[in-house]
Subunit: 313 residues, 2 copies
């Protein structure tokens, strides 16, 4: 089988967006994203997807201007729409573009990126969700190359003589990701030469486990939560029956219900909530990041976005 | 606080065996197990435990005879019983001694060992149970030093001027464990200097998660299993509703129910069982390690220890 068909098959075997979907493709101009655009273009004809090339110019390197020009030209040559942004958080920009068009964002993350992400998350002490790594489809982000290796990408790009821009930061061990790529991975491979397979398989198990924990958390939350306008109350007795990690999951779920995200909530904050749980009723309250208040009242743990309402009950 | 009291506290804070328990202490003569014996002896008086020093002579090193003599003398000096074995699997020997006395086995595994175990299991692609590392109490094995670091142990041994035997294999990177100790850990520490805390915390989360999965598995098993004399049948429809990892957990649970252990059952065998699950009814059966037979009949998946009974139904 030709390499391109093999790669298309590998993409095809997993998630594919429905006919007529708008795709906003994140293109840096590097080898992965150039390959991504060409592979998607082939699929797009078949599935009637609408592709937009989106370039984020982080302006960190002298050559970033030339990267932008390269990507713009690439889009033009392929007859694709082009959008770009500078000095803005990359995902914020992509989400903005995607929201406007109700599109999927597509990124060129490969199996190699997945490996590094899993290793990095593990060394950061991430939980099950983090150990699951990136997902093929995660909300409105699609990663079709996630099971395709860098080697395959490079071979594909070589075969089709596609031009791309070298990512210059890549060669330095200046950043953590490069430290992992050039130092950690080779060392780990000394212990287990089939490291790739093992870690990617593990990520899949963790993904499955994370989904299961997610479902259980939602189920448990429903059993113990009472929500008011700006507050949610969890039954203390039911919460205390859970093992610590599930208790934390339910707490994070509650926080997400209340404010739509759990940004800035770290282990230390969960420990603070635990202290409130253990404290005598009504004696203690705490403020968490994101103007979130926690207190222990009437056999319930209350989470609230507004202090006055919450404390004057 | 004196170091010894600090260490005793650290042990005390977790699992402690009930009064009058018999303890079979695995002593190699190395620094960890020498410290272990001294710490246990102090606790033994208070809790009325009966200590036996057990030495396993692996006869791999020239000096192993002298190790054995050292440990025997240590036991004698402390007025403790001594048992030893040579050329036998270490845990088999300990279990044999422990079974005879209905005793707990005690090992000198430290926080450093735990770290290495977790890293090794991760690089081997172990599941949640493996990522949880060793437990403080695991069936009849107790590991009181599991949250105590090697540095603390060495300081304790120095302060009390306890003598011990150097483990000579330790300095070589010949074995995987040493490769991890001397190569992998220092590299990982480049990425995250507080690696120890992070990985040990992670192991705790995984332990909690593994317990939860274990409980869920037992609950699900009960809902779908019918057991006969030498066979257990699982309801295929219910089994298929589970995510893959839970299906595998239920299958492993079933195998443990049937033969008391899941030794030699690897991922590849679980994949074979999955093939049987996917196959047309009655057409296929497979033999798994441990003379275990699997087949697909009457909307159920059957596991049996004896082929004839199973296939002649």
């Amino acid at each position: 089988m030709r390499l391109i068909d093999k790669l298309i098959n590998q993409i095809d075997n997993k998630y594919l967006p429905p006919q007529g979907t708008d795709l906003v493709v994140a293109v840096s101009g590097g080898v992965d994203s150039v390959a991504l655009v060409h592979l998607l273009l082939r699929l797009a004809n078949q599935y009637d997807w609408d592709l937009t090339v989106a370039h984020f110019d982080h302006q960190l390197r002298k050559t970033s201007q030339r990267d932008a020009e390269f990507v713009q030209k690439l889009a033009k040559n392929l007859g694709l729409d082009y959008v770009s942004a500078a000095r803005k958080a990359r995902y914020d920009f992509l989400q903005q573009v995607a929201r406007r068009r109700r599109a999927l964002i597509v990124t060129g993350h490969t199996a190699d990126d997945q490996l590094e992400t899993v290793v990095m998350n593990w060394l950061r002490g991430g939980g099950v969700r983090a150990l699951a790594g990136m997902r093929d489809l995660d909300n409105n982000i699609w990663r079709p190359l996630l099971s395709i290796t860098k080697t395959q990408i490079k071979e594909f790009v070589r075969q089709y003589q596609l031009t791309y821009r070298e990512d210059e930061t890549n060669q330095q061990t200046k950043f953590k990701r490069n430290l992992i790529r050039h130092k950690v991975m080779p060392t780990l491979r000394l212990v287990n030469p089939s490291l790739e397979q093992v870690l990617l398989r593990n990520a899949k198990v963790m993904a499955s486990l994370a989904d299961f924990v997610g479902q259980e958390t939602a189920r448990l939350y429903k059993k113990m939560a009472k929500s008011q306008k700006d507050a949610i109350w969890l039954d203390l007795k039911k919460l205390n029956q859970l093992p610590e990690f599930l208790r934390n999951e339910v707490i994070l779920f509650t926080i997400r219900q209340l404010q739509g995200h759990q940004q800035d909530i770290k282990k230390i904050h969960l420990d603070e909530v635990q202290k409130i749980i253990n404290s005598a009723e009504g004696k203690v309250w705490k403020q968490l990041p994101g103007k979130l208040f926690v207190s222990n009242r009437y056999g319930k743990i209350g989470f609230s976005r507004y202090r006055p309402k919450f404390l004057n009950r």
